[in-house]
C-alpha cells in the first residue's frame, strides 16, 4: 500500500469510518507522499470548515408563530350535517373576530342606550306637545279602557291650551 497513492481512501479516513490497520497504512504512505498528504489535509480542513456552518436562531417568538401557522394549516376542516364546511380560523383571524365581537357588543350597548333615551325624550315631548295622550299610553292595558279619562290634565304650557287662552289675554 505504502508505494501506491491513497487518494480514493481519504474520504473514509477523514470520516473516521476506516479500520485501524488501513488507517495506519495511509499514515505511513502520506508521511512520504506529499501529494496524498496535501489531499488528505485538504479534506480534513474542508470537513472542519463545513462543520462550522451554523443556522441562526430566529428566537422563541418566531418558533411559537411557526407552530401556530403549522397547526392552522393542518387544522381539520369540519363538515356539518347540512353539508356546510367549517373553515378553521387562523390565530390572527381569531383575534380579529374577537375584536369585531367586542366592538359590535359595545356599539349595541351604546346604541340601545341612546335609542331608549331618544325614544323617551320623543315620547315625553309628544305628550307635552299634543292634546292627545302619548301612543304608549294608548297601548297600556291599564290605561286603555279609559284612555281619555286617565290622560293627565293638559298643562298650562300645552300649545293647544295656550292657543285658546291667548285671545283672552
Amino acid at each position: 500500500m505504502s508505494d501506491r497513492h491513497t487518494v480514493h481512501l481519504h474520504d473514509d479516513y477523514a470520516d473516521g469510518s476506516m479500520a485501524e490497520k488501513l488507517r495506519s497504512e495511509i499514515d505511513r504512505h502520506t508521511a512520504d507522499c506529499s501529494a496524498c498528504r496535501e489531499d488528505l489535509d485538504m479534506i480534513i480542513e474542508l470537513k472542519k470548515r463545513l462543520a462550522e456552518i451554523e443556522a441562526p436562531d430566529p428566537g422563541d417568538r418566531y418558533f411559537q408563530e411557526l407552530t401556530d401557522k403549522i397547526l392552522y394549516r393542518t387544522a381539520p376542516t369540519d363538515v356539518r350535517t347540512d353539508g356546510a364546511v367549517i373553515i378553521p380560523v387562523s390565530p390572527g383571524q381569531q383575534t380579529m373576530k374577537t375584536l369585531i365581537r367586542v366592538a359590535a357588543a359595545v356599539t349595541l350597548l351604546f346604541g340601545s342606550f341612546y335609542a331608549s333615551a331618544f325614544l323617551t325624550d320623543k315620547n315625553q315631548s309628544n305628550y307635552a306637545d299634543s292634546s292627545q295622550p302619548a301612543a304608549f299610553l294608548l297601548t297600556d292595558p291599564i290605561a286603555l279602557p279609559d284612555a281619555e279619562a286617565q290622560a293627565p290634565a293638559p298643562s298650562e304650557d300645552s300649545p293647544s291650551d295656550s292657543d285658546e287662552k291667548m285671545p283672552e289675554k
Binding site: D15, L46, L50, F63, L66, T74
Partner: protein, 189 residues
C-alpha cells in the same frame, strides 16, 4: 430517538393532534436549521419548515416505523429544499446579508464575535466554501450538508435521500473534490 418521542409518534398516527403539536415543537428548530443550511435564506427555510410539517401531517400513515420519524421529517425537508434549489438555479440568489435578517438573528450572530480579525478571515473563507457548495448540483449539495454539516452517517443520509449508500459515497466524493479545489485556491492565495 427517545421512547417518549416514539410514543408521541404512535399517538399522532392515531390522530392525536396534541401529540402532533408536541412533535412540531420538538423538531421545528432542527428542521429549520437544516433548511437554512441548505438554502441560506430565512424565508425559504421558513417555507420548507412549514411545508415539511404539513406534509408529515398528511402522510403520517406512510411512516411504517415510528422510530424513524426524524428520518421521515428530514426526507420531506430535504426533498422540498432540493426542489427549491432547482427552482433557484438559473436565477441570481444573493448571499444572505445579516442586516436583512430579523433583529433576534443579528443579535445571535453578533454574540459569537470573539477575535474580529480572525473571525473576518474565517468568515470570508466559510462564505467562499458556502458559495462553492451552492454551485453544486442540488443532490450533491444536500448530501454534503447532511453528512458534513449535520454530521449524519452515510447510512442515515442514504435513508433520507432514498438511494444506495454507494451513491452517497460517490456524491460526497465528487462534492468534496470540487470544494477541495476551491479551498486550495483560497488558501494558497
Amino acid at each position: 430517538m427517545t421512547e417518549d418521542i416514539i410514543r408521541l409518534v404512535h399517538r399522532f398516527q392515531k390522530g392525536d393532534r396534541q401529540a402532533f403539536t408536541r412533535l412540531v415543537k420538538e423538531y421545528q428548530r432542527r428542521v429549520y436549521a437544516l433548511s437554512f443550511k441548505m438554502l441560506r435564506n430565512h424565508s425559504d427555510a421558513d417555507e420548507v419548515t412549514q411545508e415539511t410539517f404539513v406534509r408529515a401531517y398528511n402522510r403520517i400513515e406512510q411512516l411504517k416505523s415510528p422510530e424513524h420519524f426524524d428520518s421521515f421529517l428530514y426526507r420531506i425537508a430535504t426533498n422540498y429544499a432540493i426542489d427549491l434549489m432547482r427552482k433557484r438555479k438559473g436565477r441570481i440568489v444573493a448571499m444572505p446579508d445579516e442586516s436583512e435578517l430579523p433583529g433576534s438573528i443579528q443579535l445571535t450572530l453578533s454574540a459569537r464575535v470573539e477575535n474580529p480579525e480572525k473571525t473576518l478571515e474565517d468568515k470570508q473563507l466559510l462564505q467562499a466554501i458556502i458559495k462553492a457548495a451552492e454551485e453544486l448540483p442540488p443532490r450533491q449539495q444536500a448530501t454534503l450538508i447532511l453528512h458534513d454539516v449535520e454530521g449524519l452517517s452515510k447510512e442515515e443520509v442514504a435513508n433520507i435521500m432514498d438511494c444506495p449508500e454507494a451513491t452517497v459515497r460517490s456524491n460526497l466524493h465528487i462534492a468534496r473534490g470540487k470544494l477541495k479545489k476551491k479551498l486550495a485556491k483560497l488558501l494558497t492565495s
